[in-house]
């Protein structure tokens, strides 16, 4: 359920980047304060372990499909929330850069969806209370499954919220939620099961590893207040700045206005600041609505005039211009490419 660059707007992407960067900064500070050098190689090697473990599958009985471990939850159980969050962030960064899972702008969303929820919500509020101190195996198993399912549900909901807030996909909120939550309930159960069998194995083979984390002191006093306040400030700031930039386009906001008010834009005063800002907007909006979504096409009258309002010649010129530009891009590549030898894989 990696979020993709292609589906998000800069406002959403930027906000989530700021949020994730803030939490990374906070976690880094926490770890430096603990000055536990030993944790540094452990975090890194466990991150690599997540990759490796995702390559080992097991068959789900009766379905024919297979599942594997997710990551966030088992890291939180083994490392505690701060180190687990950093590890998950680094795993996702490498996935974005090398495997093209998601993308660079969506990385903020992905770190938040797959890192924040398991480490800072599911682990302290669900796993720890259920598992308690020095848990028996059954409690440990129950805690891991419930926490993994819960974390994934929150993550899936967050994907929906981010997609809908971006307005690039046409999927309405309720349909999308109804699709995503059940699918991720199933995925969460499988993931929870995988996490659990691994945790149970470690618990049997080397209980001291889990003791170290389930003991109250090592997890530290987990205060959510600071990261949440930082998050809020970052969200408001970037959201405010970036949404000005983004709202020059007919996306989420205008769409919802047109739904509620019946017109694409609310009538604005024709003079003064509003009018001059409008001019700026017309300029920055880059061929406002570019011959596609014209006002008339949005108007409620149905019938023949629908669709014909768009000037066909404009479409043709767009196609011609587009192909010419593509050709030119190819030409530039060809000019620079000559005389280079190929690198064999």
């Amino acid at each position: 359920m990696h979020m993709a660059d292609a589906l998000i707007s800069p406002a959403v992407g930027g906000t989530m980047w700021a949020a994730s960067a803030g939490i990374i900064g906070y976690c880094s500070k926490k770890i430096r304060q603990d000055s536990d050098d030993q944790k540094i190689p452990l975090m890194a090697v466990l991150g690599a372990f997540i990759f490796a473990a995702q390559m080992i599958n097991f068959t789900i009985p009766g379905t024919g499909s297979s599942g594997h471990i997710g990551g966030g939850m088992i890291l939180a159980i083994l490392l505690g929330p701060y180190a687990a969050f950093l590890t998950m962030a680094s795993v996702l960064a490498i996935q974005a850069l090398f495997f093209a899972d998601g993308g660079l702008l969506a990385l903020g969303c992905n770190i938040f969806n797959l890192g924040f929820f398991p480490c800072f919500i599911a682990y302290p509020w669900i796993f720890k209370p259920i598992a308690g101190q020095r848990p028996a195996e059954k409690r440990l198993v129950a805690a891991a499954i419930i926490a993994a399912v819960f974390a994934l549900q929150l993550g899936a909901f967050s994907v929906v919220a981010q997609t809908v807030a971006s307005g690039v996909s046409a999927l309405p909120f309720d349909t999308f939620v109804l699709v995503m939550q059940p699918i991720h309930l199933a995925i969460g159960l499988v993931e929870g099961l995988a996490t659990t069998v691994v945790v149970a194995f470690v618990w049997k083979a080397r209980p001291e590893i889990l003791d170290a984390v389930t003991e109250p002191k090592s997890a530290g006093s987990l205060s959510l207040r600071k990261p949440l306040i930082g998050l809020l400030v970052a969200a408001v700031l970037t959201g405010g700045v970036l949404s000005w930039f983004a709202s020059t386009h007919p996306d989420g906001l205008e769409w919802s206005i047109s739904k509620t008010a019946g017109t694409e834009e609310l009538a604005a005063p024709q003079q003064g600041l509003h009018a001059s800002m409008d001019k700026v907007q017309q300029k920055t909006a880059l061929l406002p609505d570019y011959g596609f979504k014209s006002e008339a096409a949005q108007a409620p009258q149905e019938g023949d005039n629908r669709g014909t309002v768009v000037d066909a010649s404009k479409t043709v010129s767009g196609l011609v211009g587009g192909s010419l530009t593509l050709l030119m891009a190819g030409l530039i590549g060809w000019v620079f490419k000559r005389r280079k030898k190929r690198i064999e894989p």
């Binding site: 490796a52 570019y290 010129s317």
Partner: protein
Amino acid sequence: MAKIDKHFFDLGYMDTLASQQTPIHRLDPRAKLITTLVFITMVVSFGKYEISALIPFFIYPVFLCAVGNVPPVYLLKKLILVSPFAVMIGIFNPLLDREILVRLGDMGVSGGWISFASILLRFVLTVGVALILIAVTGFYAVCAALEKLGTPSVFVVQLMFLYRYLFVLVGEASRLVRARSLRAIGNGGSGIKTYGSLVGHLLLRTMDRAQRIYLAMCCRGFDGKIRMLKPLKFGLPEIGFVCGWLGFFIAIRFYNIPALLGGAVTELFK
């Protein structure tokens, strides 16, 4: 099985590409990182029905590929492999948004198809440049750039370490999977019980390895910092690269070159 080895080998190939010597590879990683981030923000800032204005943005990845000697076919293959999520969500647009927005002769194209095409273009552009960034810079250099740009050093060290041990552990996991499939007939041995002990053992071995690494690092004077041999230098070529491309991005962000060009050409033939 084949897929695991493929992934593994892929990572190595990206490093091979990154170790080339071209004008692009010689640039300071910060310049490439900043330009790429601005590029991605610009691309996703367009409205959902935009297609033609996105096309000039292909010039940047094409230029990097050409000068940096990155094989485009390899990149395309990688892009297709990882496209499912964007395509899966995007494919609903043609179903949900059926309003005809453009007419080409008798054929009407609905807004959904246009926004779907726009999503695909964005996907290729944004994910493509991220892959190219690594192929012309290398992961360690990107990490160094991140640190210089203010990322907490704990996180940067984590990234570098993770990347270093990725190869070791992926190799170990693929040996485990191979051993299991050699001993199993059909689907035997792939149940949850075997899985638990398989991954559990891998985890325990991993933790022991971390301990050995830590001790070895302590012996060599590790103090929580990793020092880079190659100093970073942000000179004239870097300033030129960043300013030049930013200027170009701003120009194509605010002027739809294909539309202007197309208008001029169709005018000629009238």
